[in-house]
Symmetry: C2
Subunit: 191 residues, 2 copies
Amino acid sequence: MDLLIENIQKHVALTTEEQKIVLSLVEEANYKSKTILLKPSEIADTTFFILDGMIRSYTVDTNGVEHVISFAAPNWFITDMYSLISKKPAQQYLSVISDATVYKLSRENQEKLYELVPKTERFFRILIEKSVVAHQQRLIDNLSLTAEDRYTKFCDKYPKFIQCIPQKYIASYIGVTPEFFSKMKARLLKK
Amino acid sequence: MDLLIENIQKHVALTTEEQKIVLSLVEEANYKSKTILLKPSEIADTTFFILDGMIRSYTVDTNGVEHVISFAAPNWFITDMYSLISKKPAQQYLSVISDATVYKLSRENQEKLYELVPKTERFFRILIEKSVVAHQQRLIDNLSLTAEDRYTKFCDKYPKFIQCIPQKYIASYIGVTPEFFSKMKARLLKK
DNA sequence: CGCGACGTTGATTTGCCTCAACGATTGTGG
DNA sequence: CCACAATCGTTGAGGCAAATCAACGTCGCG
């Protein structure tokens, strides 16, 4: 069974006909690790649904430091929402962490999808609601937890990521430097 | 013209009939400053649309320290999205900053609204998309800017809030202690 | 093999916190 | 209308978590 269809059906039921429409509006693609799918100055036109591999989004600040905004694993969506909805140049990079197979959904086709299969608008509403909750929780964690607590929480929440994501990206996601992250890890091992 | 209807019409057009349905599903209410509209352990059942006054949402961490998640002014929505969609006990407080008049929209009525006026589901989708963008931007700011930069950015973005919100709440929103905030302000004045 | 990216470790610095004391303002009951 | 407490913002001294800078080992890969 198709991963995307399965994912959508967790929230709204689709007829066979509707499933076909969904699949007709996405385009499969393959990307090698380190491919840049989007960079600032470009305008995001695509939402990526990951079938296999991993992608991350990140910004680069005025000092040239990268800040990982999110990791996306199979069965997740990723895009630069800001650029996608405002049609202004992106503020983020989208970059492949490990060789990836994705469905590409263009904004145009996404809007077509809302018209042809209105249920999918509900699906995306629910998806985005969850995204807000996740973002809020991460914000709260950044404001109220120490780096160490954020790290152990990350390990609990995404145990698989620890093994397959370069450490410096995890450090960046947590919100610390790679050096401090390394020391922190060593400190935790002693316990 | 009604503020809520006006707000919705910025994104989707409503017939007079549909406008009536919207207004029939919300309930007006008044609250005095410092009223707690929601607290952890309760389950959020209501989305508030502010007609007048101000409301804030915040969490309290394990050390008893408050962290302001968001301020809501007239023409904005506020709720604990986590509790609302998961139907689990809230993680946030919702509290009135200055005497407020609001429309209350219960979850039940919100779902009814989606059925009776499907367009409104699009309206909320768009609204929530913007919310994701705002949350991401704030996260990036917390990761990449100093407290001073976050403060000046806040002043640029919400000049009116500076005057009408107690300083300690702004400090909390920025992510610093009231003491540090005070010193920071004094330092900026010297420039 | 040799280069470059990655992770580790140490010395030092710094942004922000903690604690404590002190005016100013608010509000509340007598 | 005043006295008093409570809350708020300010200021200072000292402390700590995390950043910075620098040096070094390791590994994968052209």
